[in-house]
């Protein structure tokens, strides 16, 4: 499968959200975005931007407790699922929360802590790794696999 990688720096939370907003505006439906990074790296901030760019009617909040938040927008019936793998472990858990059903639809799926359910995730995806560069700055590494993710990454350039 064709893959591509890009690296970007974000100087603060606001910039992370702006990057997310650009990604959100480019989503067509059916994408899987995997956001990987430690506590405080900015995964939820990036998702907040993605939700805004995509047009979510409800603000994006942490789904850690409820595990899956379903978001709607006014434009059409497309949904954005915000999933948190923080408490999940392995394919069995992913199946219990119904992740497989979300992943094969026409909706957008954004998943935090994707490494916890890695075996349940399809290979076609945009994998974003958020690393601490210093206290404020984060390094975002984008790994795209598959045609849809590659097109998304190119559009972001």
């Amino acid at each position: 499968m064709e893959t591509a990688t890009r690296v970007a720096l974000s100087r603060n939370v606001a910039e992370t959200e702006q990057i997310g907003e650009r990604i959100g505006a480019l989503l067509r439906g059916g994408e899987l975005l995997c956001l990987s990074g430690d506590l405080g790296a900015g995964k939820t901030a990036l998702t907040r931007g993605i939700g805004r760019g995509w047009g979510a009617l409800e603000p994006i909040t942490s789904p850690t407790f409820t595990l899956i938040h379903e978001h709607h927008r006014a434009r059409d019936g497309q949904k954005l699922y915000h999933v948190d793998g923080y408490r999940l472990s392995g394919a069995a858990d992913a199946w219990t929360v119904g992740l497989d059903e979300l992943l094969h639809g026409e909706d957008v799926v954004v998943i935090e802590w994707p490494e916890n359910v890695a075996e349940a995730l399809p290979e076609e995806r945009l994998w974003v790794t958020l690393d601490f560069f210093d206290d404020e700055t984060r390094q975002l590494t984008f790994n795209a696999s598959g045609a849809q993710a590659l097109a998304l990454l190119r559009a972001l350039d």
Partner: protein, 354 residues
């Protein structure tokens, strides 16, 4: 006398209870799954669903036996319909439906957050409740300020824009190497610490009624980890001493973190009560068990402050039965095709009560 059987399986707890007339608790059985979850540092959904299936029958039987009530004497079954984990909610809802169908009992679906509000009804009261009230609902999944004009009449004033307060407690506890659940662990350690040692951020203090705890979590991370800490931690492990900054005093960090959370919760709730003509302030949900939060709210408020007894702060079914009673007497009945609502808000988007 109206007898309601309440059933709650939205998250950690399999619970059943019998409540008379919405205010008198005849039984309250909670089969906690907390030991099961402690090793995972959070809710483990697959285990949760499975354990609910195993626990629900004996828990309901126990609740009836403790109340000395038979199924024939019940007036209705109330069950949590959401918000929560879909697989867990289904266990309670399907059990309640079976009971309703088999015994010809009316079925009532209850919002879990509304349940927390009604935990306040189950307390001894010297002074009767006077609406309107402003209620702070704080738990692992929720942080909301709600104005309650009357039974079932809610207006959402504010909510978290990122992490819930209880979630912040859990995640900071993990950073500090403290056990799950984080709330009691942090409160205990904080007793030995200096709440002014660190000046952690109070996000949005004095502005509106929304909360933000994500920045606070990051600030704690920065305070305890070595500078420019870029190496990623394996998820299941807690921080060990050598991963924390050498000069970190965990008690001071815990106390300062707790002080920051309490400060924001109290400031916004008290201001909301004042600006929305509330006669009382209520605190409900798991975080309402926090001692410093109770003390600070009572000290800062100029109206009556009420909170549930400790055993009713965490998830339980008595609160579901109490909330169900008030829906039942308003004539609400759920059909047997009632579905679970994992994302059910207490107040719908348009501002109307769901």
């Amino acid at each position: 006398m109206t007898l309601i059987l309440g059933i709650e399986t939205s998250c950690d707890e399999t619970a059943a209870a019998v409540v008379a007339d919405g205010v008198r608790m005849l039984s309250n059985v909670v089969a906690s799954q907390i030991d099961l979850h402690a090793q995972y540092g959070g809710v483990f959904p697959e285990v949760a669903s499975r354990a609910h299936v195993e626990a629900i029958y004996p828990v309901v039987e126990q609740a009836l036996a403790d109340a000395n009530v038979t199924l024939d004497e019940l007036d209705a079954v109330a069950v949590t319909r959401g918000p929560g984990l879909a697989g867990s909610l289904l266990v309670g809802v399907n059990f309640a439906k079976g009971l309703a169908l088999g015994r010809g009992l009316p079925l009532v679906g209850v919002n879990h957050l509304e349940g927390h509000v009604y935990s306040l009804w189950l307390t001894e009261r010297e002074v009767p409740i006077r609406f309107p009230v402003v209620c702070l609902i704080v738990s692992g999944g929720h942080s909301e300020i709600v104005r309650i004009a009357d039974h079932g009449d809610y207006t959402l004033l504010g909510r978290t824009i990122d992490d819930a307060a209880g979630e912040a407690f859990d995640k900071v506890a993990r950073l500090l190497g403290l056990p799950y659940p984080g709330g009691p662990a942090i409160q205990r350690v904080a007793e030995q610490g200096d709440p002014t040692a660190y000046n952690f951020p109070r996000a949005l203090r004095g502005e509106g009624y929304n909360f933000s705890f994500s920045g606070l979590k990051t600030a704690v991370l920065r305070a305890v980890q070595p500078p420019h800490h870029g190496k990623r931690q394996p998820k299941r492990e807690r921080m060990s001493a050598d991963q924390l900054r050498a000069d970190v005093n965990i008690a001071d960090v815990a106390a300062s973190f707790q002080a920051a959370v309490v400060d924001v919760l109290v400031e916004k709730t008290v201001r909301a009560a004042r600006e929305h003509g509330a006669n009382e302030i209520w605190i409900a949900g798991g975080v309402s068990a926090n001692g410093p939060l109770r003390a600070a709210m009572t000290a800062a408020a100029d109206v009556t402050v009420r909170y549930p007894p400790l055993k009713l702060c965490a998830d339980n079914a008595a609160m579901i039965a109490a909330a169900g009673y008030f829906r039942f007497v308003r004539g609400e009945r759920a059909a047997l095709d009632m579905d679970v609502r994992p994302n059910w808000p207490l107040v719908a988007r348009a501002g109307a009560t769901a």
